[in-house]
């Protein structure tokens, strides 16, 4: 199914949404800080991905992806992966901090 990879990413976003909505970790609400965090991560890991694809380290099954390919042969889903997974990691980090009240160094 062409949407498989995209649906996996959507599942990640939906699964972590209660952390923002119910637990109130205020990650999406701090969108400026979120964007500034995601941009450098996206640049570094998209560059790694593009280099690895060019070097043949890994390849993708086009039948399970939308087929939208960005410059550098980077599939759209990979670009989204580098936005979705870091966002989920921040949500999780803020949730742990909220629940356990452990310091993170930016208090």
């Amino acid at each position: 199914m062409r949407l498989t990879y995209l649906l996996v990413l959507l599942g990640c976003l939906l699964g972590t949404l209660p952390l923002e909505v119910v637990l109130g970790v205020r990650v999406y609400r701090r969108w400026c800080r979120l964007v500034l965090t995601l941009l450098p991560v996206l640049v570094v890991f998209a560059a790694w991905d593009i280099a690895a694809i060019a070097a043949g380290h890994w390849s993708f099954d086009g039948s399970q992806m939308t087929g939208v390919v960005l410059p550098g042969e980077l599939p759209l889903e990979e670009l989204l992966f580098f936005l979705v997974v870091p966002t989920c990691a921040i949500l999780c980090f803020e949730a742990v901090r909220r629940v356990r009240r452990w310091p993170a160094g930016d208090e």
Partner: protein, 100 residues
């Protein structure tokens, strides 16, 4: 360069940024390791789907060959580097007063 070497360099680079450059020192904090353990659990599920269903395929020549829930062990290092870099920048920005 193999994926194995790239993954080791990725982890080393993220650790250097955390400890020496941004000095967020998340590697020394409980909150980071507990959050990472939870992320890792879900990474194994997501990576397991992506690699178990062959959405992503790897050249056997550039990985060690050790696999964890279908995914090459190198993927765990790739993921660790990404999570550490992300959280270091997030905390660094907070420390700088960006939407604390």
């Amino acid at each position: 360069m193999t994926y194995t070497l790239a993954a080791v360099l990725g982890v080393a680079g993220a650790a250097a940024l955390d400890l020496a450059v941004m000095r967020t020192r998340l590697l020394t904090r409980k909150v980071f390791w507990v959050a990472y353990a939870i992320v890792l659990l879900f990474q194994l599920v997501v990576n397991g789907i992506l690699t178990g269903r062959d959405i992503v395929r790897y050249d056997p020549a550039v990985i060690v060959g050790l696999r964890v829930v279908f995914a090459p062990a190198e993927d765990l290092m790739f993921g660790f580097a990404m999570v550490l870099l992300t959280l270091s920048i997030w905390v660094w920005l907070g420390r700088k007063g960006v939407q604390p």
